[in-house]
Symmetry: C2
């Protein structure tokens, strides 16, 4: 069965069955008369023993945290409680707490950047809030007003703004997380939850030069499925990916290229979205990324790369050094990749995500064969490099763009 | 594509790709020269403020816990640490701890039963240990010697044996859990872990008489898939099932009947395995349960029900009141269910699991139609009732059987 036919048949069944839609669940989880998330209720307890940020050199991703964190409790009886910014420190949970047993968790990742004026900026935080609520719907955790959480995040980052590095390419990683916290072993709708945000200074992804990655495309390991949770940023989508990555590493590959179905459709790469650049018969370039079909995460970087490429394509905002490009959100399978490689029409492959922005690919291992993919002398193909430069300029505020917002007015 | 053909093609790809197999990962996680789990190293710190067990009446599943718990730390440098039985109480974890972000968790559920002599028994704990290690392989958590953990569980239950209820049908639920605990946001193999076991007295599943359940078979919600994690008892398999259950409840159904693929193969029900009893053309009975194909949890109760039915079938140990039965582990789809129902050949449907042992089904909602399923005056069909009686007799030690083991020699 073709992928599209399969998805369509599932979609028809959804309509025919008329199941409760997500907004019904949202209503249940939000509740009538329950308190909404309200940044105006924020209470601040300053860390009495603040630390100084460590030297930026030597930072390892996700191991160093700033002086403060944001926490907001929720329960099904009263709704969202009082937001609090307090000292970064451990949580205490009963051993029966649901987060230890049934994986009711979702998260986001975004960054704060130091601009040339020394001010601090966020990149499209509204997109993270939107996706966080979509994830909450899927895992039966409560929705909230994203604008309110952005206000709280800005306040938190502002309090710890000396943790936003000044060094080129460094940034402050922001991790909003929402977990179920009721102390019971029953498998049912979450009754209690905790929203928290922590901050971690991080180095440039390419600290010692660009390293293109080799991908293992193993059809026996499947990340997501129609009717599953692949489109949501749930903890439950990440833990199960670790064993396939260990397996790939043993074969000499850095990441998994996640395939789907018996025709081996490409979906994502590792924890990133996927872009393929191909030469068409008329020698023009097509950039392909798989469509948001319910199995693929709606990456903020993916959306930004698509936006930049389309603005280039239309002539509205040309990207430096690139020819005319056709931009396609469409299904693409391994047969098309193999065919393009054989005809020397496979120009570039790269992943997109918050950590690396773009991550070039130089090899795909598939059914015992290696498919080589060109990378330029810089380690990047031309499209990946041009997109990286443009996006970085926007993120670090070297180029004004509506996507980049200062944390203070 | 037929399900079996699909699975076979995936299996062939696994062999062709020769990915690292699970035992390689096991070696990595166990490590050469690392300390194994050793019950002989147990240290006990008695709860200085022990509580008395509450009255058995009024117990709600998974909300009441005994005086002690077992904890065993693990890390990738030294292996398994010292097992400790101490006072039941909260864990303290850094907000960056991986369990809050990427769902590295697995668990088991088994029970301790009070036998007619007042002694305490476990039911097939070796099967839970075996599955726990299989789950650990899949989620990149460390393996351990199951016999050692059974020794520790027996000791823990013995210390809190006054929490094993004397009332008929009551038992002490045992929850072994294993979680990743390293404080880092990197998505990679677990470096630290915590194994813990907690105890919860529970009432009979059918406290106010048997209530047959109605199932919603919604093809748009999919629990597991080939190449995924459905065969492992991971937290990541449970949280995502809550929204579909809320949706089913809104349509008036108690549980989900999980289907797979475009031919709507039956897989599991809610958090239980599934049995279907059908009349064949020659009027003999066939009991069908879907095979362990990598998508289905290998339930201990499922295995026990199959064992009892086969012993009945062979004449080795006939079950009371049942005719000759053919026992089949085979794929079965909704078309076969609908056909059997139309011909009045659908005799019984029931789920099997630790909590209820067997849970009878009286209705399946499918594509907007309701399929009615007979249940006897007792609420059970004849097969479910006979199996329930036999298994309960073994579990509560009213009938000696090798599956039931006392916690002290």
């Amino acid at each position: 069965m073709r992928l599209t036919a399969y998805l369509l048949s599932n979609f028809k069944q959804v309509k025919r069955m008329a199941p409760a839609n997500v907004s019904d669940v949202e209503k249940k989880l939000h509740g009538v008369g329950l308190a909404p998330l309200d940044a105006g209720k924020l209470v601040i307890e300053k860390n009495p023993n603040p630390r100084s940020p460590p030297p930026a050199k030597g930072l390892v991703f996700g191991k160093t945290f700033s002086n403060h964190m944001l926490t907001v409790p929720w329960n099904a009886q009263t709704g969202w409680g009082q937001p609090k910014i307090g000292a970064y420190g451990p949580f205490s949970f009963d051993p029966s707490t649901v987060i230890f047993h049934y994986a009711p968790s979702l998260f986001e990742g975004l960054k704060a950047y130091r601009d040339p004026q020394g001010e601090v900026r966020l990149f499209r935080p509204d997109k993270n809030m939107e996706r966080m609520n979509t994830s909450a719907d899927r895992i039966a955790l409560p929705r909230f007003d994203g604008d309110e959480l952005v206000k709280l995040i800005k306040k938190l980052v502002d309090m710890d703004k000396d943790w936003v590095p000044f060094e080129a390419g460094y940034s402050l990683y922001i991790r909003p997380t929402l977990i179920g916290t009721q102390p019971t072993l029953g498998v049912s709708a979450n009754e209690e939850a905790l929203l928290f945000v922590i901050l971690s200074p991080v180095g440039p992804y390419y600290s010692s030069g660009v390293k293109p990655v080799a991908l293992e495309a193993n059809p026996a390991r499947v990340r997501a499925w129609p009717g599953g949770t692949g489109a949501s940023k749930l903890g439950a989508n990440y833990g199960p990916g670790i064993l396939p990555q260990i397996e790939a590493a043993k074969q000499g590959f850095q990441q998994n290229l996640w395939l789907f179905g018996d025709e081996h459709w490409l979906t994502e790469v590792g924890t990133m979205n996927l872009f393929i650049v191909m030469k068409k018969n008329d020698q023009t370039l097509e950039v392909v990324t798989p469509p948001l079909d319910g199995m693929i995460l709606a990456g903020v970087t993916r959306d930004s790369v698509l936006g930049l490429l389309r603005a280039h394509s239309s002539g509205e905002a040309p990207l430096a050094g690139l020819p005319k490009i056709e931009v396609s959100e469409r299904n693409i399978n391994m047969k098309e990749i193999v065919d393009a490689a054989e005809k020397c029409n496979l120009v570039e492959v790269f992943g997109s995500g918050t950590a690396a922005v773009v991550s070039p690919v130089n090899k795909i291992g598939y059914l015992g064969e290696d498919i080589s993919i060109p990378v330029g002398d810089s380690g990047f193909g031309a499209v990946a490099e041009s997109v990286l430069n443009k996006l970085s300029a926007i993120q670090w505020g070297k180029e004004e763009h509506p996507w980049s917002v200062r944390i203070t007015e």
